[in-house]
């Protein structure tokens, strides 16, 4: 019963935030999460939208707790996005509210909300720069900033902060509006928690906060007891490797997840803050439980995560990290499934596509194929693993932006063959009606989603621009280019890996899988030569 009550509070926070937020990222793509934490900062319940937020928000709470112990007062609210202090990447801003008891002496628990802001500065509009080389280039860092000071919203201070640095936020009003919505969502959660505590007593509520974690821990331990040791190395398009070793202690029903051996910190922005790694591990182990258990900090208790400092999965400042949250995170999840031999890889990317000019800014992530597993096919053109963000309706897209969506369909035949075939990717063609800068930040363009148990890998993704005059420019996995009226940006997202040895391709199976109809290039090997039309910055 308490689990439902906690969950319901998180959902009410989420509904409030979705309704009151300003950014379409939060309102429509549902790129946000709200959660409850116990007095020790441990995740109790969350309204899940974005798996990548889940495990990582705890780190934000812990960071605020550690550095403000004894200084927090009723009516204080903190804000942060610093990837080196509990954040993941800069656009994800987390607001933390301690919930005090009635006399205001003691923090009973915490509530937090994280939302993807439309812009936090940095070298490109939308703050998802494909080629950032340091954290400063990615935008404003907020580290342990007081957002509300004993009930006073620190608007002037925040506005000033947002306008500092070499690449300040482009639209601070919008940030402030979203932050207010986050504060209100937290307040909603705090109010509901106080009601709960008034009804049942603090002791009972805190006992149940521990109890739901114990319950989740137990479920994960049972799942771990079924696992075997394994290792996996998953290469990225940029040459880096995510390496993972899982060692299972069946007697203790616990596991060590060791990322030693992953590439050292990168020059590029594919570094993933440690919190991202935690989120990926939490997500994967949660999916191993075939039951509707709550996702909370208890799930992580049986798991020791080891990530050497200075690795791409635990970088040190001033490494750039913006792709870590969206790209590297998907690689970590798929590598874990590889090590555990759970299922073939889904697309190892979110296909982050941004375009804009002085007036318009737009960001989307594009679905691809999911991996097959023992007893099931992958699904086509669907959000997988670390993201589940929505896409803007095609009519709304064309109403708001000077673009035509020419095609959005399943990229048939792109899933890896196997006894169970991988899901197909998607094809998205957007024609620009006005000059605009567009960027793609992706992975899986050179390295396909792996198959498993004899299943074949999925097809690689492709990015290209088809100029109005007929020229075709192949783009690399990260590219920025200037488009003119009539140019088309084409993104083909990767297929998922197959599972099990494919049947001989002479019989019915070959017919059953729909033959390639539109894109003759689907089955050709992933290209290695790159011609990039990079926009000089």
């Amino acid at each position: 019963m308490f689990n439902n009550l906690f969950m319901n509070i998180a959902e009410q926070m989420g509904a409030q935030l979705q309704n009151t937020a300003y950014s379409v990222n939060i309102k429509e793509r549902l790129d946000f999460s709200c959660a409850l934490f116990d007095e020790r900062g441990q995740l109790v319940a969350n309204a899940p939208h974005m798996p990548v937020h889940l495990g990582s928000m705890s780190e934000s709470i812990l960071s605020v707790m550690r550095r403000n112990a004894e200084r927090m007062r009723p009516g204080d609210v903190y804000v942060l996005n610093d990837p080196y202090h509990g954040g993941t990447h800069l656009p994800d801003i987390t607001v933390v509210t301690p919930v005090f008891d009635a006399p205001g002496n003691r923090v009973m628990c915490y509530v937090g909300s994280r939302g993807h802001h439309a812009d936090v500065g940095g070298i490109t509009p939308g703050s998802m720069p494909p080629s950032s080389r340091s954290i400063e280039e990615e935008g404003i860092q907020l580290d342990n900033v007081k957002l509300v000071d004993r009930g006073r919203f620190c608007e002037a201070e925040l506005r000033a902060l947002l306008q500092t640095g070499p690449y300040p936020a482009r639209n601070p009003d919008q940030n402030l509006a979203d932050l207010k919505a986050q504060v209100a969502a937290n307040e909603k959660g705090a109010r509901e928690l106080r009601k709960l505590i008034a009804e049942f007593g603090l002791d009972v509520v805190q006992a149940y906060m521990r109890h739901v974690q114990d319950n989740a821990e137990d479920s994960v331990r049972r799942a771990i007891a079924e696992l075997s040791d394994g290792t996996f190395v998953l290469p990225l398009d940029n040459g880096a490797n995510v390496a993972v070793r899982v060692v299972v202690d069946r007697a203790q029903r616990s596991a060590l997840v060791d990322f030693s051996g992953s590439s050292p910190q990168l020059q590029s922005n594919f570094n993933a803050p440690r919190a991202v790694c935690t989120a990926a591990v939490l997500y994967v182990f949660r999916t191993l439980v075939d039951d509707d258990i709550p996702l909370n900090a208890g799930c992580l208790r049986p798991i020791e995560i080891r990530v050497p400092q200075g690795s791409m999965l635990n970088p040190v400042p001033p490494a750039s990290v913006v792709a870590g949250n969206v790209e590297t995170s998907t690689c970590v999840t798929n590598a874990l499934y590889g090590a555990l031999t759970t299922m073939a890889a889904s697309q190892c990317t979110m296909n982050n596509f941004t375009f804009g000019d002085a007036r318009h800014q737009y960001y989307e992530t594009i679905a691809g194929g999911s991996g097959a597993g023992p007893g099931f096919h992958g699904q086509s053109a669907v959000q997988t693993h670390m993201t589940n963000s929505r896409l803007t309706d095609p009519e709304v897209l064309e109403l708001r932006f000077p673009v035509h969506l020419e095609r959005f369909e399943i990229r048939r035949g792109s899933g890896g063959r196997g006894q169970y075939h991988g899901g197909d990717g998607a094809i998205r063609r957007i024609r620009f009606l006005e000059p605009m800068t567009a960027s793609i930040l992706s992975n899986g363009r050179r390295i396909p989603a792996f198959g498993m148990a004899g299943g074949e890998p999925g097809a690689c993704g492709h990015n290209r621009v088809e100029r109005a005059d007929g020229r075709i420019e192949q783009l690399d996995h990260i590219s920025t280019c200037q488009l003119n009226a009539g140019d088309v940006f084409v993104i083909e997202t990767p297929g998922g890996g197959g599972y099990g040895t494919p049947p001989q391709p002479d019989g019915d199976e070959a017919n059953e899988r729909q033959p390639t109809q539109h894109i003759p290039s689907q089955r050709h090997p992933c290209f290695n030569s790159i011609s990039i039309d990079m926009q000089a910055r």
Binding site: L5, D218, V382, D393, V396
Partner: protein, 683 residues
Amino acid sequence: MTHEQPDRTGRWQFWIDRGGTFTDVVGHGPAGQLRTHKLLSDNPEQYPDAAVAGIRHVLGLGPTTPITGDLVECVKMGTTVATNALLERKGEPTALVTTRGFRDALRIGYQERPRLFDRQIALPELLYSRVIEARERLAADGRVLDALDEADLRAQLQAGRREGLQSVAIVFMHAYRNGVHEKRAAHIARQLGYSQVSASHEVSPLIKLVGRGDTTVVDAYLSPILRRYVDQVAREMPGVALYFMQSSGGLTDAHSFQGKDAILSGPAGGIVGMVGTAAVAGFSRVVGFDMGGTSTDVSHYAGELERAFETQVAGVRMRAPMMSIHTVAAGGGSILHFDGARLRVGPDSAGANPGPACYRRGGPLALTDANVMLGKLQPDHFPRVFGPGADAPLDKAVVRERFLALAHEIEHATGVRQRAQEVAEGFVDIAVTNMANAVKRISIARGYDVTRYTLQCFGGAAGQHACRVADALGMTRILVHPFSGVLSAYGMGLADQSVMREGSIEEPLDERVWPALMRRFEELSEEALGLVRSQVAGTPRLRVIRHAHVRYQGTDSALILGLDEEGHPVPDVSALRARFEEAYRTRFGFLMQGRSLVVEAASVEALAQGHVPVEPRQPLAPDASPVPSTHVELFSGGRVWNAPLMDRKQTRPGHEIPGPALIVGASETVVVEPGWHARVTSH
């Protein structure tokens, strides 16, 4: 109910709710008398159609005697025929005709997966079986960019016909702005012999390809099924006017009944019934709590029927006016689970067969069993329809045995020692929390203070949980109508005849646009009124209700604002803006300063008034409390009570019944929990 206005025609009316399990029939006789009858919806050995059989039963007609127009004036009916066809994916095979490049637009939708942590991602099964891409393209403002290639389309549609397809859904990009291509495509499809042609600009003329497209496909997929059902009923009742309940809560002429308006046909009647009976009882703010065997529907009413224009049903995104009803998978048949650490209720259900353990068919422990265990359902005072001879009472012994075993299992797994009743009460607590959360979602989460509302309960299982749900919500008043067991059917009779029309606007709310907006409202009103007039005999009382769908620029979800509420005229732009801000503040608690407003759409509803319930006041009984039939053991709040059991038939207006107590009627048992107090009203 003797003071009914005499029926002009001297004929019967029938109000029917044809549900998934039971069909409820309310007959309204020439002298104003009301008769009810309940029968199984599917009983092919006994009768081909439950609604028709129910009417025959009430009228005392033989199984083959025709039901004619001189006996019966009209039949008003809600049906789950379409809902079930949708849930079971048993509609008419349908071709989707869409703009080139968008063949998968409805399949991909907004690309989210429904369950976040499933390794195997399951998406709802598609309703269409063939896709035809048309060469055509409109711009976002409705301009034609590429003319429709009619020859190509015709060839593809012909191929569909050769495969035997009869039904087609036409969904083109931006057709809500300009239906020119869809009209041509529909014309061609009809020429080729498609019997069902649904075009998106007619079915749902609102922005968003995915929602409008799904709605259009649903319409094409379900309308033929409905048509067959309507024809079958009409054949058995020559000369009887036949009306069907729509998802919007208004009745429509049988021949105008469309698939896209049929999804909530049954539950919508319940809300109309709830609102009508609550009004008679003097309550204007009501939370509806309709708890049946497999699910619970909750709804919110504060003076106006609430509609959603964007909802999701059975994996289909609907963009059509539907009553705002929130459904949770918790009902009397919800199965009780213990997974070694935690108690859970549902979401799976024991169904009607085998049913809960107490039904004597070897079923699993279900919520109904927990109520038997707690004494909230009394086998001696419950219909004896169980066992091989269909004459045995509910099986209390097996319930006790199973809960004792479960209590041992829990003690073994967790070390916590509990009595069997405590275990049962633990499950009821969980179910109550789930249902209270469902109510919160439609009320508190939207800014309504539910503590001042009345909880109106109906459906078989509601009476056993109503006090507890009210407690969990801080509500202090509950209403149980004498027809609570057949309230949906009763609601069919109370409903207005209605036609709704929507039009897309997508213009800024300002003085410049205002005259055009008013003109659009007038056009839509004329259209809707014309249709209502054509459906209703005589000179009914007609009225039109207009709504503007308004949102902040750059946001996605519009608020639906009434322009014709009593005492709140909206004569101009500033009044509409004020109405928006008031509604927005209620819902969200703040305003977005400096943002301009957009009128997304206009919708109108033309209404012809339905039956007005007449429930005359009756004198209060001199004795203040009824004599209990007996006393029973009732477990509540961790202890046993010796509670009086009242027969509902023996209660009189003015009777007071302090809790704990049970009030047992023919089709429902109401538990008056300790601390609650029941009173029989004068109606």
